[in-house]
Amino acid sequence: MAEHTKPRPGENMRLIEALQYKLPPAGWVSILHRLSALLMVGLLPLIVWLLDVSLGSEVSYERFSNAFIAGIGFVPAFLLKLIVLALIWAYLHHFVAGVRHLWMDATHSVSKQQGRISAIVTLASSGVLTLVLGAKLFGLY
């Protein structure tokens, strides 16, 4: 069993060391896939609440749309929009990165070159879509 218990390099890497690591695009997609997941799961009650007030009744729908104009409770509208923008990015990134995973699982096409290109496409497409939807959210068009 000696070969299985031998410490591997990087096993006890500290977070600060990990942060100094230069990641390739595929590495960024991977860690952002996890971060976006954490963000969405952490904010799940907010998402369900948004669904709740928007679907509850005409009155609560008013409250829902007004939250993005005048804020709600102690949360100003700007902050709410910023949080929702983060959720939009998280969903888009997680979605595209997930499709990339499924595509690789299904086709077994996992060359270094393809992985790099599809990672860049993932980062770029979710970024651009976030900008487009974010501009809508902040009323730029």
């Binding site: 069993m1 799961v41 799940l44």
Partner: protein
């Protein structure tokens, strides 16, 4: 025959984790398809207001699909969160605590979402 117990057991080929892996993929696929269906409905039709928004979710087939997606989300998030805790959290007590907290979190949110859906 390969040994399937003790420290020298065969650790591959026993479908360890296959079910989790597969259920995460299948739930992902269901949620991705649902997303496309929902976006298609949002983009077609007149200006979005309470009428149209609530009509989308109160269609019986949409309720069916949304319910499936809510449950899928819980399963998918459970597998993923468990992966994250297993990778980064080493103390067993803390990992167990976080796993229990995750289950409580997901089950609670699932119940709430289902209530929102079926009250329509």
């Amino acid at each position: 025959m390969a040994q399937d117990y003790g420290s020298k057991r065969l650790v591959v080929g026993a479908h360890y984790g296959l079910r989790d892996w597969l259920s995460q993929r299948i739930t992902a696929l269901l949620m991705a398809l649902y997303t496309l269906v929902l976006v298609a409905q949002l983009l077609s039709g007149p200006k979005l207001g309470y009428e149209r928004w609530s009509a989308i979710f109160s269609a019986q087939w949409m309720r069916f699909a949304t319910f499936v997606v809510i449950v899928s989300l819980a399963v998918h998030a459970w597998v993923g969160m468990r992966d994250i805790w297993m990778d980064y959290i080493k103390p067993v007590w803390l990992r167990l605590l976080l796993q229990v907290a995750t289950i409580v979190w997901l089950v609670g949110c699932t119940g709430w979402a289902v209530q929102v859906l079926w009250r329509l």
